[in-house]
Symmetry: C2
Subunit: 337 residues, 2 copies
């Protein structure tokens, strides 16, 4: 039985037993709401709840004062889907198509040609260097405010290539509940993603309840300029920081300056973040979301080119990390289900 259900049962017992006679208000409105309704009862759910109780109970030897309750979440594959490729890549591809009229040379120039012809094979052949070129061409060369408008407009209209849904509807309902549950317990929630920090900030508050100042991600260089008397911050076509693998603890340290007590990821790109968070003293929680549900989402791990999870699966047990089985542990994947 779920512990919250136990509490409900106890309350019902008390309220319907003789003790209820002493209650002053004859119609008490005691309600115990399950904070994680989309999580099946099981070891994953229980580990999360046990951790929260340990760090929030003032009588617990593992009690953590509220300002130090920091939890970090990867985004792609942890808070929203990442197949058949990172959503930010679809954004970059849509940008290439929108910008193509001003760039006739792209019709015969890779990786742009591959994008314009929807040739995913040629795009993959362009490799990491090709992808980086796409990002630079589509994410740089404008002010931060212009870029924000472009992202907001894209999210409002773009649809995922296989589900046909808006991308922001492909966030995980159980993780939204988990974010709320942690915050209700005084835990400050941060995103720490390999994705672009400025690609995420315009919408994470509305979608996840995570404000821009709690988003850490990869970034391109920017400069401050005054243009016709108007100060602007201009995005340069040059990488500044890659917030992935060993970069994640560095990004956390730079932005937060405290070691998190809990970390949630889904791929080996999150390994060091979980390692860093869970190596601290006291109660620690490391969670890997394992994509096991080919029917409701996607199933992939060791051999995936996106979100590869290999070392994490091997070492989760010995490191005491929780591996969430999406198929078994989650009653729903997306909020609209």
């Amino acid at each position: 039985m779920k512990p919250v259900l136990t509490v409900v049962a106890l309350l019902l017992f008390v309220l319907t037993s003789g003790c209820a006679q002493s209650v002053v208000d004859p119609t008490p409105t005691v309600k115990v709401v399950d904070p994680l309704p989309s999580w099946n009862d099981g070891a994953s759910r229980q580990s999360i709840i046990d951790f929260v109780v340990r760090v929030t109970d003032p009588a617990s030897p593992d009690f953590v004062p509220e300002p130090e309750r920091i939890a970090v979440f990867d985004n792609d594959g942890t808070l929203w889907s990442e197949q058949p490729s990172y959503f930010q890549l679809f954004f970059a591809m849509d940008r290439v198509k929108a910008m193509a009229p001003d760039h006739p040379e792209w019709a015969t120039q890779q990786p742009y040609q591959a994008v314009l012809e929807n040739d995913m094979e040629a795009l993959a052949a362009a490799g990491e260097h090709g992808l980086l070129e796409l990002v630079m061409a589509t994410h740089g060369g404008m002010t931060t405010e212009e870029f924000e408008s472009v992202v907001v407009e894209w999210l409002a209209t773009a649809k995922h290539p296989t589900t046909g849904r808006p991308y922001t509807e492909m966030v995980y309902q159980p993780m939204l509940e988990l974010l709320d549950y942690l915050r209700a317990n005084g835990v400050k929630t941060y995103i720490v993603s390999g994705g672009g920090i400025e690609f995420m900030r315009p919408w994470t508050e509305a979608v996840y309840g995570i404000p821009p100042e709690q988003v850490v991600g990869s970034s391109i260089k920017t400069v401050y300029e005054v243009r016709d008397g108007e100060p602007v911050i201009v995005r340069l076509p040059e990488m500044n920081f890659i917030d992935d693998k060993e970069g994640k603890p560095v990004g956390i340290h730079s932005h937060i300056g405290r070691r998190p007590i809990a970390a949630f990821g889904n791929s080996d790109g999150d390994f060091q973040m979980l390692e860093w968070a869970t190596a601290g003293d006291g109660a620690r929680l490391g969670v890997l979301i394992h994509h096991t549900d080919a029917e409701r989402e996607w199933a992939y791990d060791r051999d995936s080119h996106i979100g590869r999870l290999d070392r994490g699966l091997d070492e989760a047990d010995e490191r005491g990390w929780v591996v969430v089985d999406m198929k078994q542990d989650w009653t729903a994947i997306y909020p609209t289900e």
Copy 2:
């Protein structure tokens, strides 16, 4: 008359007039505490209070929702003193002396020799390049946790060369009150300093009430490593980011991702930060602390090698920035007075 005093007078009038008959509790404990007791009544104080009322009153056309109430503060010369040189330079000099036994070559090598011989003239002659070398030699080559211990230990024992006080007692009492006053009105307070981010974070929460994640500053590069099974973040002797002048709006954008509605500085190094904050829509507040009190602190502006304030003084009026006259506007400088 201060507006809070006006409120007190009105309350006293009401409570002692016939209206008081209708008060149920015969001994009401109404107290109106002046939130800025170390600020003399005058234009500076009034401008700050007017701004806070405009952005917090839901009926005001300039009302700002709480999450967007961001205020940024320079540190050196704005929250604590910066003469006869930046306190972080004294830290670096003390570190050179502490590390000298392991570096016999420093006895005849500049800028180290100058530090070991307390030769400030030779140190000045080493210029910016020499200072940078000092910082690299004393701030790098250790883990972030080791560096934090060194800073904490230094602050607990070091004394300012002319006042003989601990450095953390040389913070400005009126600014501590201002930080509290803003926070009590739902404004989130950040430090945005040219000083080292890791030099500030260990003590800003205790001294200013500003937690590590709300500190933005200059930084050196760091890398994540696992040493004998223990993950650490190692500080490299290489600059990563200089949070000064045009760098300040860039640092704000990177760490906060929102444009502040208020900015407080004291030198031309803060010019762009004030420009960026006050160019936004709606009510904005830019404040420059002008060091005018040679008796209680230091007096300097256009010709100072530290905290030079020149363009800011020229343009404050036309930009609507408040210039605080430390001698006239502040009844106390340090908390112990």
